[in-house]
Amino acid sequence: MELIYGPWPWYTSGILIAFVMFLLLMNGKYFGVSSNLRTLCTICGAGNKIDFFKFDWKAQKWNLFMIVGAAIGGFIATHFLSTDTNIALNPKTIETLEVLGFKDAGANYLPTELFRFDSVKSVLLLALGGLFIGFGTRYAGGCTSGHAISGLSNLQLPSLIAVLGFFAGGLAMIHLLFPLIF
């Protein structure tokens, strides 16, 4: 049972993600989660003024069901398929995070110092992170699912460029900006 209740290894995850992409392709769809952010803009009425959001969002209903499912999956995994949600991080990672002021690295699923409502700094950082994600993913035309998984699997050069961008941005954030932010 530890096989299910413990953390799942990378190969299990990789196989299942590829399987998810396969199921979507076999349904005539694609694996690309960030399109939903655009759909949500359209539902909120952004299509009235901006052409980019003028499209029949009902054609994307299937993708919205995907993210509702992703949320339900998170609920099921936490409440019925886990004994605890600690992360067995590399001790070196825990050390570098402690230097930055993260005291509970790996003892929780997410850092409690950042994921909270009662700190202005945390809320601002989460908001900024969200802005970058939303803006960047649409500018690049896809996120981790659309470019790194679907695009690379379809041998698309643009997706490789985007993934290199993802990593350049991520490395810059953690190595250059984190010491300034935290």
């Binding site: 989660v33 960047g136 500018y139 643009p158």
Partner: protein, 137 residues
């Protein structure tokens, strides 16, 4: 009925993200520190199997469940939008520690401050739509 199958695929995806810790901020940080193989293993295996899957679909001309052909869209070759867009996405991915799929999984898992990330990700997408014509692509 169709909607239910996408919901089910989403549930499988969400469980996978949470249980394999790909939805954990800590794992993303560790990945960008190159201190664990975990995330590279996840992405590596899915791309490897994904490539094989798509190659087989193309080679044997496999049809979708409803018999229609499976269409793959080619992305137009450009540099700026992919690299700069990717760069901005990467900054957010590392800061918030979640990409657009796992952020919804985290809501279900009960980490509600992630809602701030989601609301602002929608806002960020809106901003892109507004500024699209002024940006180099």
């Amino acid at each position: 009925m169709k909607s239910l199958s996408y919901l089910t695929i989403g549930i499988l995806f969400g469980i996978t993200m949470l249980k394999s810790e790909a939805a954990s901020w800590f794992r993303i940080y560790e990945m960008f520190q190159f201190q664990s193989f975990h995330m590279y293993g996840i992405i590596g295996v899915s791309v490897l199997l994904g490539t094989l899957t798509i190659a087989l679909i193309k080679k044997f001309n496999i049809k979708a469940f409803d018999g229609s052909p499976i269409v793959f869209h080619k992305k137009d070759i450009r540099f700026k939008r992919y690299f700069f867009g990717g760069l901005i996405f990467g900054l957010g991915w590392a800061l918030a520690g979640a990409c657009p799929g796992p952020m919804f999984t985290l809501v279900g898992a009960g980490f509600f401050p992630i809602l701030i990330v989601i609301v602002f990700a929608v806002l960020g997408t809106y901003l892109y739509g507004r500024l699209k014509h002024k940006l180099p692509h």
